[in-house]
């Protein structure tokens, strides 16, 4: 049994209370320890990724209880990829928060940040459906704290809405799990995969109810229409770096959909049939369209980026709904791209907000410091988000479109292409209003005392990551193809959990 598998959960779980208890009053120490912890997380997750390469999925039995009686963590290629993505994003966001001084505007930023990482990594690694619920709650309760970091009436109000919405989501999750447990008698994912296949036809209806409830829960997480209402206000009013970190949270929803509907309820299974692709595809198309219209109509930059995030989730779910290995591979590439692109744009918007005191699309405000540099960064992020060449969004959309050839091609391609155009128009309008028209208004405002170098460096690092993602698209797609292959084979995962162990 390889103990490194649990390290991405244990490390932040230990670090966070340590930060709260031992260095509550010393922000400098908090920054050092928290950054070191996140850097160690990057190293560990990179190691795990290397370990998962070429090997079958590996299982960690908590308390050494045999599956399906104990809780298991499973490291397969998908989990390793997502954990590494989380760690890298977290490191960049954390350094940005330090550079921009966000972590000093309230208490316990770093502790909450680590708890958030614990929840996200745990959700990716766990092989138990109820444990997934618990990790969802861990990441949610940390996100509640992060969301209202810095305070303010509007933010608190959006926070209450966000919490209420997610509490309802958690309740639905419990309803779903109870229904599934009542029909199959297990909550271990690998065991569920076996039991769901053997279920008698008369019990299938109840399992289907549970499966659709689960889809609703993941749709809440992944901001899929019609359950996306929480996202725009939450992301727009959350502190910039927190919104950037939240870019990974919607991916947790997408991850869970991929995991459950390749492993437990594969397409064409006797109990659930073609249900998911039939439900998921229309919802994904509407999500994409709604996100694009939102980008066009949003009144502020942050809200616009939030809607662009919804649109990218739509694109992602279109690729997932194809439910082919090719579709899943494209979805994974697009997930990595959209996580970084969304985070990048939120950070740029945060820098603009810090200089302009407002993110409304209002051309009467004066010029602000470093507006040229920020305009260039916004331009880069918008290109990536809208899916224009030369950045990875273009490749991602191309892959998604390539994976959805077939009967519905005209509809899907039409929605993707038209929505891309709308997003381009929306961002072009916002960019010219905020960055160009202000030059006509008045004298340039006093430049900021000192550009926060670390914050800018991190934004550039994200842009560089997008460029890297574009240049390395070939090898990366090769990797994602093997990830998708492993998911669709199913038996390696099930065997690694349920096969008898030699001691």
């Amino acid at each position: 049994m390889n103990h490194w598998i649990i390290a991405p959960v244990i490390l932040p779980a230990m670090l966070a209370p340590f930060i709260v208890l031992a260095m509550r009053h010393d922000l400098g120490l908090q920054r050092i320890f928290s950054t070191l912890g996140t850097a160690a997380l990057v190293a560990i997750s990179a190691g795990l990724l290397v370990m998962s390469h070429g090997n079958p999925p590996e299982t960690y039995f908590l308390g050494n209880w045999d599956a399906p009686f104990g809780i298991v963590l499973v490291l397969d290629k998908l989990a390793a990829t997502m954990v590494l993505l989380t760690a890298v994003l977290a490191l960049m966001v954390q350094l940005y928060a330090i550079g921009s001084g966000w972590d000093a505007r309230g208490k316990h930023f770093h502790a909450l940040f680590q708890f958030q990482l614990m929840g996200v990594c745990g959700a990716f690694l766990t092989g138990d459906a109820f444990n997934l619920f618990v990790f969802f709650e861990v990441l949610l309760i940390a996100s509640y704290g992060l969301m209202i970091h810095g305070g303010g009436g509007a933010r608190l109000k959006a926070g209450v809405q966000y919490v209420a919405y997610n509490l309802l989501g958690s309740t639905l999750f419990l309803f779903a799990l109870a229904t599934i447990y009542a029909t199959t008698g297990t909550l271990n994912m690998a065991d569920l995969a076996v039991k769901a296949g053997q279920l008698a036809a008369e019990d299938a209806a109840l399992l289907r109810v549970g499966a659709v409830l689960l889809l609703l829960v993941f749709a809440v997480k992944g901001a899929l229409v019609p359950l996306q209402f929480w996202l725009p206000a939450t992301y727009a009013l959350a502190p910039g770096p927190v919104a950037a970190l939240f870019a990974i949270m919607t991916k947790v929803g997408a991850y869970a959909v991929i995991r459950f509907y390749t492993l437990i309820f594969p397409d064409g299974a006797t109990s659930t049939g073609m249900l998911y692709s039939e439900l998921l595809m229309p919802a994904a198309l509407v999500t994409l369209a709604l996100g694009a219209v939102g980008v066009l109509g949003a009144s502020g930059l942050a809200r616009q980026v939030a809607f662009a995030g919804i649109a990218s989730m739509g694109t992602l779910f279109i690729a997932v709904a194809a439910f082919t290995p090719q579709g899943i591979a494209a979805a994974l590439y697009y997930a990595v791209h959209s996580t970084i692109a969304t985070a990048l744009l939120f950070l740029v918007v945060d820098l603009v907000r810090a200089r302009r005191d407002s993110d409304t699309l209002d051309s009467t405000l004066p010029r602000f410091g470093q507006s040229g540099l920020l305009a260039a960064l916004f331009f880069g992020g918008a290109i990536a988000m809208a899916g224009m060449p030369p950045l990875s969004g273009f490749l991602g959309k191309l892959l998604v479109m390539d994976a959805t050839r077939g009967d519905q091609m005209a509809l899907i391609w039409g929605v993707i292409l038209v929505s891309s155009l709308l997003i381009v128009v929306g961002f072009a309008r916002a960019g010219s209003t905020v960055f160009w028209k202000c030059h006509a208004v008045s004298e340039p405002a006093e430049p900021q005392s000192r550009p926060d170098l670390l914050a800018f460096a991190m934004v550039f690092a994200m842009l560089a990551a997008l460029v890297g993602l574009t240049l390395a698209a070939g090898p990366l797609m090769g990797w994602f193809d093997t990830v998708a292959e492993e998911l669709f084979a199913r038996s390696p995962y099930i065997d690694s959990v349920l096969a008898p162990r030699e001691e």
Partner: protein, 117 residues
Amino acid sequence: MELLVASAIGLMTACGIYLMLRQRSFPVIVGLAMITYAVNVFLFASGRLTLGLPPILRDDAAGYTDPLPQALVLTAIVISFGMTAVIVMMALGAFLDTGSDKMDLDDDRAEDPEARK
């Protein structure tokens, strides 16, 4: 007994959903609490309803009651309790900061007291 438990879950869920759709934060939180109670009972019932049976299978026992849902429901209770405390504190903070306990966000008008009329 099944009828009683089932109708209790249904009634609590219905009340919870009704309250959640209200405009002010207090009824919404009470509604959330109601739904959590409903789901806790529902989780409990997922191990089948039995009376007076031991939770562990033994050779001399006539039957057993499934212990796992009880562990699950305990976790769910603890989590929902914590979450309710968090949302109460946040709702209180929002009320004290903005002077209104409405759940909806009309953010364009919120900043402009003139437009609120």
